[in-house]
Symmetry: C2
Subunit: 407 residues, 2 copies
Amino acid sequence: MIKLIGGGVCAAKGFRANGVHCGIRKNKIKKDLALIVSDVPATAAAVYTTNLVKGAPLLVTKKHLANGVAQAIICNSGNANTCNANGVEIAEHMSELVGAIAGIDQNDVVVASTGVIGQPLDITPIKAGMPALVSGLSADHLGARAAAEAIMTTDTVAKEVAVEFEVGGKTCRLGGIAKGSGMIHPNMATMLVFITTDVKISAEMLQKALSTDIQKTFNMVSIDGDTSTNDMVTVLANGMAENDEIVSDGEDFSTFMTALNTVTVQLCRMLAGDGEGATKLLECKVTGAKCPQCAKTVAKSVICSSLLKSAMFGADANWGRVLCAIGYSGAAVDVDKIGVAFRSAKGTITVCENGAGVEFSEEIAKEILLEKEIEILVSLGEGEHEATAWGCDLTYDYVKINGDYRT
Amino acid sequence: MIKLIGGGVCAAKGFRANGVHCGIRKNKIKKDLALIVSDVPATAAAVYTTNLVKGAPLLVTKKHLANGVAQAIICNSGNANTCNANGVEIAEHMSELVGAIAGIDQNDVVVASTGVIGQPLDITPIKAGMPALVSGLSADHLGARAAAEAIMTTDTVAKEVAVEFEVGGKTCRLGGIAKGSGMIHPNMATMLVFITTDVKISAEMLQKALSTDIQKTFNMVSIDGDTSTNDMVTVLANGMAENDEIVSDGEDFSTFMTALNTVTVQLCRMLAGDGEGATKLLECKVTGAKCPQCAKTVAKSVICSSLLKSAMFGADANWGRVLCAIGYSGAAVDVDKIGVAFRSAKGTITVCENGAGVEFSEEIAKEILLEKEIEILVSLGEGEHEATAWGCDLTYDYVKINGDYRT
């Protein structure tokens, strides 16, 4: 049984966190530097963006995680430290500072940055803020919350979730924080997500769990079709739950996968629902596909359509745009078998059957689509495979936020 | 020599056109039915959308053009006649009406529809409007203009262009009209474009000219990433310029290709600049690519980025988003060699060299980006290939237009 609990990245035993304003951002009430530390070295796994332009912090993190071990995560917001001549040097300097002040090996530090691309990142405020950041580390929810807040960019809410479950009779916990909320269209990797757990698991199985899970979670999220240069998901597992180490497939690994998936799906929903400018969370659920990839391709194409996203903002049941997005998705589908319905807390309405429109009440459709969470249900009628993708509506505020992001 | 002239689709000898309001749209001042007729049967070529969901008119047109001959084009706006149970029947009925009233073979009629997907198209207003449409056909610019206006949907300006050139000592003309302006992301085919010419050319060479040209023109345009269900480009060549028939490659074919390209590039610029809600035309010019496809992939990725499009709306020189879009494009590029500059009527400003930012004046960049036509110049420093893609900025109005398109 998987139980939702509080505590975010500090829910698991042996993790402390903090977030402070150190001065990378001009706005003094916005925290801009986060730190998560495990009491003991932890097994670590990560996946990274597939964008060829990679943030310098990712290059440093990749090097540090080569041995599958990490003990801390440092992350700043307000500057992506990407496309800068001295980016790697600055990222190394950040881990060096954490190592020196927190007393851990600097090669066990995960480094991440998020914000504007192409502006040099000054180490001065980070150096100045480090003592307060480290001395304020706490194992309670306040610490986790501060870290979740410090990694936010255009996010309007901090995103954290944690679960409790049992592995081999031992109580284990796993929690994560995430930041969106634009330039989100993960591909084989994903946006910034930090997950901590006290489960004892080998580095190999931890990486397997993560790499498998993201295919159906973060890789199925799109806010705006732009795959970031700094996407990263990291999991630290410090083993302090004292379960028998998970070293192979089996019941324990399945339990861990389910716990991980519970957290990642919630983070996906939070990321999508808080997409830049979004007023609605959109979930496209595809069923009846003849292959798993067909289902995913269709779901993601629908969730990425600017036209459909705009229609959802206007609560307009313009299902022709769903059909259109399925048609150009690249998946081989039989158009004449497609069915479409919209569902929300107000009910469900079928708008298309066998590839053609059916009569429906525009009033009821409007009422359903005015809700904050909308499911777009697509049935392909060709097989047993299914997939879900998450996104949000396209709004005036997306344009506003991104028309002058740097100022 | 290719000379720009007036006259649109009526510039070439032997073509008449007209556009009327017949009642498909409620707004009585918006024309909704266009007709273009050649005095004699013409050689015809066409390319169609690759969307699996195809408008019924395309299926009928494909059948009618199987023999490479057409004499008329009928096109309504206000309804796409797509995803309707009786769509093919209605499209056939439209060509039947044209055939009967204009006195031509109904199998020589190209049928096109544009507008909302999934609402039955009533033949009644089309039937009622046909006599006025046919009796008003005219070979002067007023006829061409009326046709250009009648195919508009959310377009804000009618799009037409024509050229004059010589083939084997004979004066030839070629003109076209196009409609945008949302659901535009052509792929191997394109949006609605009708081109007429009096050049004498074989069906095979006409198709070759068109299929070659669109790879560098319409297929390089994107307004919103949504590939329409009803995209089509058709060229009718009626041979009335009396040049020796073009039946193979050579000087005459090259001249024709250049004339065609002159018209299609202008139509691309018009389509992009008048994209839904657009305030700016964006042209991404990529040079120094190691292969033609690399250049095209990079140019199109940049022009499709919602983040960059929003930044351009805000006249914000956020070049990191250009790098980001290049990085996730899928093209294999050496990031450390990328250069980026912005250019407009106010001048040129370099913002990135060797994959990293250079110091530049934000004031001058702002002044350059406040213009209506912006070039994004990307140099890859790896070879000799280049490509251009056209698009537009992402604005509040795009969201507004598409939030309630159907109402």
